[in-house]
């Protein structure tokens, strides 16, 4: 007993962190790390979620190569990735517009931030009405200017863009708040020096302000990429992937394959998820590398 105690005493700095981490680590491994391994494993099986699993090797992946719907979803994901990025400059310009100290500006800022706080389900519903061909505000506006109305969400050509536009609404608000905070800590002396050198407007923004906003930009890009690749809620609420699967993204297609009226194909769904995961890994690696460099620099 005495030996045990002195062992604990001597090594308490070695043992303590593991005790503190144990519950969190246990939960995280059970619910996040292990399921990733599990999904990769399931992707090599044919499985309906209940019965026996049948090992089929890489058949699911081979099937993916010939699956039109998979390519359509993949393509839509890339459209999402590219257009969703607009939230970053939009957010920056809104932040610049709001970065003043007139009376009541704080209330204004929080009202502008509203769309980010509400659920994407509500955002999706709101925009479904906005786009409605019979009474939606969008068509009223188009017709007011003499155009002919379009049923955005029922038209294969526009549906994905319509959903992305809706998604940009909360995402822009998110980027705006990141930039507003970034702008708070911009160095006043550098701006003054810039003004003495006659830098104004765009030049000032590009050469003096933006370099200082780099951390905010980095986070804005990261959260926007994640948001684009995770896009599921909006698609599910606004179109359920339709019309004819033309607005599916990988996250939604995977869900549809795994449990829906089209049958419970867990293995195939898992294979789609693995592809999505690999795309995301590119960004995760990029992010971790940057974190690693920052950590090393701080030590």
């Amino acid at each position: 007993m005495i030996n045990m105690n002195s062992y604990l005493k001597k090594n308490k700095l070695k043992i303590a962190p593991w005790l503190f981490m144990a519950p969190g680590l246990f939960m995280f491994i059970t619910y996040v790390i292990w399921p990733i391994v599990g999904s990769i494993n399931i992707s090599f099986y044919e499985w309906d979620g209940l019965g026996e699993k049948t090992w089929i090797g890489i058949s699911n992946y081979i099937e993916l190569f010939d699956d039109e719907a998979f390519y359509k979803s993949l393509k839509n994901n890339f459209i999402w990735l590219i257009l969703y990025m607009l939230a970053v400059p939009f957010g920056l310009f809104m932040a610049l517009f709001l970065n003043q100290s007139v009376r009541g500006i704080r209330i204004y800022k929080s009202m502008f931030f509203f769309p980010f706080v509400i659920s994407q389900v509500v955002v999706g519903l709101v925009f479904s009405w906005f786009y409605d061909p019979n009474f939606g505000l969008l068509n009223i506006i188009i017709e007011f200017f003499g155009g002919t109305g379009i049923a955005v969400l029922a038209d294969e050509r526009y549906v994905t863009y319509g959903i992305i536009a809706a998604g940009l609404w909360p995402q822009t608000a998110y980027c705006m708040i990141l930039y507003l905070t970034g702008l708070n800590s911009v160095d006043a002396e550098q701006i003054e020096a810039g003004r003495l050198d006659n830098a104004k407007g765009w030049k000032m923004l590009w050469y003096i302000i933006l370099p200082q906003l780099k951390p905010a930009t980095f986070i804005a890009v990261v959260v926007t990429v994640i948001g684009a690749l995770r896009s599921f809620d909006m698609v599910s609420i606004m179109t359920a992937g339709g019309p004819w699967g033309s607005s599916r993204v990988l996250a939604y297609y995977m869900y549809e394959k795994s449990f829906s009226e089209y049958g419970f194909r867990m293995g195939y769904g898992a294979a789609i998820a693995v592809i999505l995961f690999l795309i995301m890994m590119v960004y995760i690696t990029f992010f971790l590398l940057k974190m690693y460099r920052d950590e090393k620099a701080n030590q």
Partner: protein
């Protein structure tokens, strides 16, 4: 300050700015304003095609009572609270400890575990879907609020650990060193020295996690079905299917669903923004 403070410019620019501000705000919130207006319209208004004009009558009480009386909206709301509050408590408790361990101790694998938490936080949910659903079924919690609570606590641990670890790392190290010299135990250091200093971080995280979990839709559809366990986001989706063309009810439901996080944001705004940016922009 950038851009140039507006009070230094001439009176015309100032007035233009003051007028532009509310106009831009109204355009920005137009979809939301429309929903709020629709939620107080009468069914007759909608039938007559008056979707965007001024309502002919304000049926605020009728519509909102009708939503609560004729649909299980209240039940869905209650489920949302039953999921969200335990998740917030659990996540904060776990991440205080993991964050403390990773910030204070130098041990082998520290950075590796830290990066594992960060990476897990960015993973697309879909790769977890099938195994987590399976696990919940096996544990017998599938289709109950516990399925959601347990999963959310575990998943949010990623982001929250990153957040807490960075916060604790920025605290003065001498405090801890001095306590150790005094012979204070590691747990007492955590409980009596570090936790009191973490109050702002705990407040910020709580508000943020509350909003994230309240708004979750994906896991709500994967892990629960039916009125007994589904939170409001999933509930709203199924009500939307039943209420076809009763837009005044759909919009009243949407407003109700949006209210708790909005109130949370308005009352705790300072913490909310601190949360978003502390974890993000260091």
């Amino acid at each position: 300050m950038f851009p140039k403070p507006i009070e230094n410019s001439n009176i015309i620019t100032q007035s233009v700015y003051r007028v532009a501000l509310p106009i831009v705000l109204i355009i920005w919130l137009l979809p939301l304003i429309a929903v709020a207006l629709t939620s107080v319209r009468s069914g007759g208004d909608l039938f007559a095609g008056n979707y965007w004009g001024w309502p002919t009558s304000f049926n605020l009480l009728e519509n909102y009572t009708s939503v609560f009386e004729n649909t299980p909206l209240a039940k869905y709301m209650w489920n949302s609270f039953r999921v969200t509050i335990p998740t917030v408590l659990g996540t904060v408790a776990l991440s205080c400890m993991t964050g403390f361990a990773l910030a204070v101790y130098n041990f082998k694998g520290n950075l590796l575990i830290f990066f594992m938490f960060i990476a897990g936080n960015f993973v697309p949910f879909q790769i977890l879907m099938v195994p987590v659903r399976d696990l919940s079924v096996q544990m017998g919690v599938y289709n109950s609020v516990w399925a959601l609570i347990l999963f959310h606590i575990a998943f949010q641990a990623g982001f929250c650990t990153l957040f807490m670890r960075n916060f604790i790392k920025a605290l003065p190290r001498e405090l801890i060193e001095a306590a150790r010299v005094e012979g204070v135990s590691e747990f007492q250091i955590f409980w009596y020295i570090v936790i009191p200093l973490m109050k702002p971080a705990i407040a910020a995280l709580s508000v943020l996690i509350f909003t994230f979990i309240w708004n979750d839709y994906f896991w709500a559809t994967v892990l629960t079905q039916g009125v007994d366990s589904q939170p409001i986001t999933a509930g709203l989706h199924s009500l939307n299917g039943q209420w076809i063309s009763q837009w005044h009810l759909v919009s009243a439901g949407s407003i109700v669903a949006a209210l708790p996080p909005v109130i949370m944001f308005f009352t705790m705004q300072k913490h909310f923004i601190a949360g978003l940016t502390l974890g993000a922009v260091k």
